[in-house]
């Protein structure tokens, strides 16, 4: 299975939540991600109590919608980010947010292990790339993701190697659509 550098196989734990309703796996994910989600929400302007409550909601969604987690398309951290972001929009902006159609295409064939590995390691590679950016640029990206920049203030150029991620996901989507037809 795809293991992170610190030895923890987050995707494997997530699949145990998805396939076996494994509570111990959920607890491990909670210990790692809930405090991060709480910090993310506080950086986005939520008070400690609201952030704690929303982090609980985010982890409940992770349990409930585990079937939507696709280890070949996203790392667990990325998936957690998308849930936390949606929660932030719900809680702080009260706007409705349209989501793209889910590509939830019935019984999944066993995902390709190399692809899973690739997707799970992406977060660390991006983390290193972020750390290597000039301080000013990194701060700007962080502010954008913590919701501190308006859409007109968001500059498109992140300076991060996103092209490789895009090509990999694009290939995964093509394979998925081929299996459909």
């Amino acid at each position: 299975m795809a293991q992170a550098e610190d030895g923890t196989d987050w995707a494997g734990l997530m699949l145990r939540v998805r396939d076996c309703q494994d509570r111990a796996a959920f607890a491990a994910l909670f210990r790692h991600f809930a405090p991060r989600v709480k910090a993310f929400l506080m950086k986005s302007g939520a008070g400690a109590a609201l952030a704690e409550e929303c982090a609980q909601d985010v982890m409940a969604v992770l349990w409930q919608k585990a079937h939507l987690f696709d280890p070949a398309r996203a790392s667990v951290a990325t998936w957690v980010f998308t849930i936390a972001r949606n929660k932030r929009i719900d809680a702080l902006r009260k706007d409705r947010r349209a989501e793209p159609e889910e590509l939830d295409w019935g019984p999944e064939p066993e995902p390709d292990q190399a692809e899973v590995m690739e997707a799970q390691q992406e977060t660390e590679r991006l983390g290193r790339a972020l750390a290597a950016l000039p301080e000013k640029q990194r701060a700007l990206i962080e502010r954008a993701f913590f919701g501190e920049l308006s859409h007109s203030e968001i500059a498109a150029e992140t300076g991060l190697p996103l092209g490789t991620i895009k090509s990999r996901i694009r290939l995964a989507l093509e394979k998925l659509r081929q299996q459909m037809t």
């Binding site: 993310f40 704690e52 990325t78 349209a98 989501e99 992406e122």
Partner: protein, 214 residues
Amino acid sequence: MKIRHHLSDQLLMAYSVGQLPEAFNLVVATHVSMCDECRARLASFDAVGGALIEEIDEIAMGEAALEAALARIDGLPQATRTEPLKTAGIFPAPLADYVGGDLSAVRWRRIGGGVKQAILPTGRSATARLLYIPAGVAVPDHGHRGMELTLVLQGAFADENDRFDRGDIEIADEEVEHTPVALAGEDCICLAATDAPLRFRGLVPRLAQPLFRI
């Protein structure tokens, strides 16, 4: 037909971080539903969010947080895989959701020249609407103060610069003064969002504008 006109990085990133007005979210989500290229680019921006979550200095949860979470999931059934919504119509799921159905559920209002529109219910900071332009007919000449996104759902239109088919998205800023014309063959249906009211150059459209909210 291959999609040739895509979302900009700026829009995809703003959608990924959750900073777009509701009407723009709807157009982005609808385009991404139709376009694997933009779905993959969006996923790469989401991955930056994932890296930031991983690197963030964590803030400890309350003492009984884990027990509370475990107690909570006890009562939570997990959703199961579902077959994808087989929409026989032309609206991808996020749009069908706003309209409450497909084309037949749209409540059109005529705005002259055979053109019809339907304003969709979104937050007020930007407006989303469906446009129905009969084949061969021009959309009234207009410029706009803010940004305008136009996504083709059926048929095709062309302006002075280019041609847009189903799935294509036109991103026009205030520099653009254009006269889109629906191409012959099939009536054109678009989803459009503007973050400021359009300003029409002709007198009559200008008088009609407050009435029709376009």
